[in-house]
C-alpha cells in the first residue's frame, strides 16, 4: 500500500514539482523497488528527450502531399484577402456545410415570405372562340364600335324618357285632383 502511495507521490513530484512528504522520502530510502522507481522516473524525462531525435529519424520519411488541396485552399485564402469572388467550386470545396445551411435558410425564408399562388387555368379553345365572336359583333355592328357604344348609351336615354313620362302623368293627376295648373320650368341657363 505504501509503495503504491509512494509511487504516486513520486509521479506527482515529477509533474507538479511539489516536494514529497518526509514519510515517503524515508520509504524510498528503505524500499529498493520504490527507490528504483524514483530513479527511473527521474531519469525518464532526460532519456526520452535524448532518444527522441534518433527515434524520429528511424521513422520513414513520407511526402506531405498537400498539393492540390493546399493549392486550392491557398487560392481561396488569397482570393478572400484580395476581395475577389471565389469560384463556386472552390467555395463549396472550402465550406460545404455552412453553404448548404445558408442555402436551406434562404429557401425557408423565401417560403415563409412569399406565398405560392397557382396561376389560373389557361383559356380554352371555346373561350377564345367566344372572345373572337364578341369582338366580331362589336366590329360588325352598325356604325362600328361607335354604334355599339351609342347602343349602350341608348338604355340611359330610355330610362330618362320613362322617368319623364312618369313625372308628366303624376303632374296631370295632381292638376286634375287639385284643380291647379302645373307648368314645367324652363331649363336653367348655364352659368
Amino acid at each position: 500500500m505504501l509503495c503504491t502511495i509512494s509511487r504516486w507521490m513520486i509521479s506527482r513530484s515529477e509533474d507538479t514539482g511539489k516536494k514529497m512528504p518526509r514519510l515517503i522520502e524515508r520509504h524510498i530510502v528503505r524500499c529498493g523497488a520504490c527507490g528504483e522507481f524514483a530513479r527511473v522516473s527521474a531519469s525518464l524525462s532526460s532519456r526520452l528527450r535524448e532518444e527522441r531525435a534518433a527515434w524520429l529519424a528511424k521513422v520513414p520519411d513520407f511526402p506531405v502531399d498537400l498539393g492540390r488541396g493546399l493549392e486550392t485552399t491557398m487560392q481561396g485564402a488569397r482570393a478572400i484577402e484580395a476581395g475577389r469572388p471565389l469560384s463556386r467550386r472552390l467555395l463549396f470545396g472550402l465550406r460545404p456545410l455552412p453553404i448548404a445551411v445558408t442555402a436551406l435558410v434562404v429557401v425557408a425564408a423565401a417560403l415563409v415570405l412569399f406565398q405560392v399562388v397557382p396561376k389560373g387555368s389557361a383559356p380554352t379553345a371555346q373561350d377564345r372562340a367566344a372572345a373572337r365572336a364578341a369582338i366580331k359583333s362589336f366590329t360588325s355592328a352598325p356604325g362600328g364600335l361607335q354604334g355599339a357604344v351609342g347602343k349602350a348609351e341608348s338604355s340611359l336615354e330610355r330610362e330618362g324618357r320613362i322617368l319623364g313620362q312618369s313625372l308628366s302623368s303624376a303632374a296631370e293627376y295632381l292638376q286634375a285632383r287639385l284643380n291647379i295648373k302645373i307648368e314645367r320650368k324652363e331649363a336653367p341657363k348655364p352659368l
Partner: protein
Amino acid sequence: MADHARTEEKTDDELAREARDGSRRSFEELARRYKRRLFVYLRPRLGSDEDAEDMVQDTFLKLYRNVGGYDPAYRFSTWLYTSANRLAIDSFRKNATVRRESAGVANDQLSDPAAGREAGTGESGLWDKAQALGETRFRVLWLRYGEDMTIDEIAAVLGRTRLAVRVLLHRARTSLAGLLGPDMCREARPRPAVARRSSGD
C-alpha cells in the same frame, strides 16, 4: 536560399504567425517539422501507416484552412495536436465497425508489459518500449516528453482533466519502469495493458 535558411531558424510560433498572415513557405516549414512527430503520435491510434499518413495530411490541410484563426497566445504544437486528436476521433468513429471486426487481431498486437519486457530486451529504444505500452499511455508520454507539453496543455489536447492526465502519466511511468527495472516489487508491478484498457484507460 537565404530566405529558406532564415525560415528554418525561426521558431514554430513565429512560423505559425507568418502562416496566419499568408506565408505558404512558413506553413510548409511547419509541416516539414511536424509531419513525423504527428505521424508517430497518430500511428498507434489509427492502426496503419497509410491511415496515419492520410491523417497527417488532413490535419495540415485543416490547419491551413483555419490558420487565420490561430491564436498566438497558445503554442502551435498544442493547436496542431488538438486538431489531429479531433480528426483521429472522427476517423475512429467512422471506422468503428471495421475496427470491431479486427479487434481480435488488434488485442493480440497490444503489448503486454511482461511480453514487452522480453521483446524489449532486443530493443534499445525507450520510445519503442513506450509505444508498446498501448496507445493512450504512449500518447501522454509523447506529449509530455516528446513535445515538452505541460500538464495543462496535454489536458487541452486530449480533452481531459489535469488529474486524469496525471493519472495516465503515472500509469505510463509505472508500466515503463516495469519494463526497464526488473526489481519492481510485486505490489506495484503494472498489470497487463490489455486488462487495464477495459477499465477505461
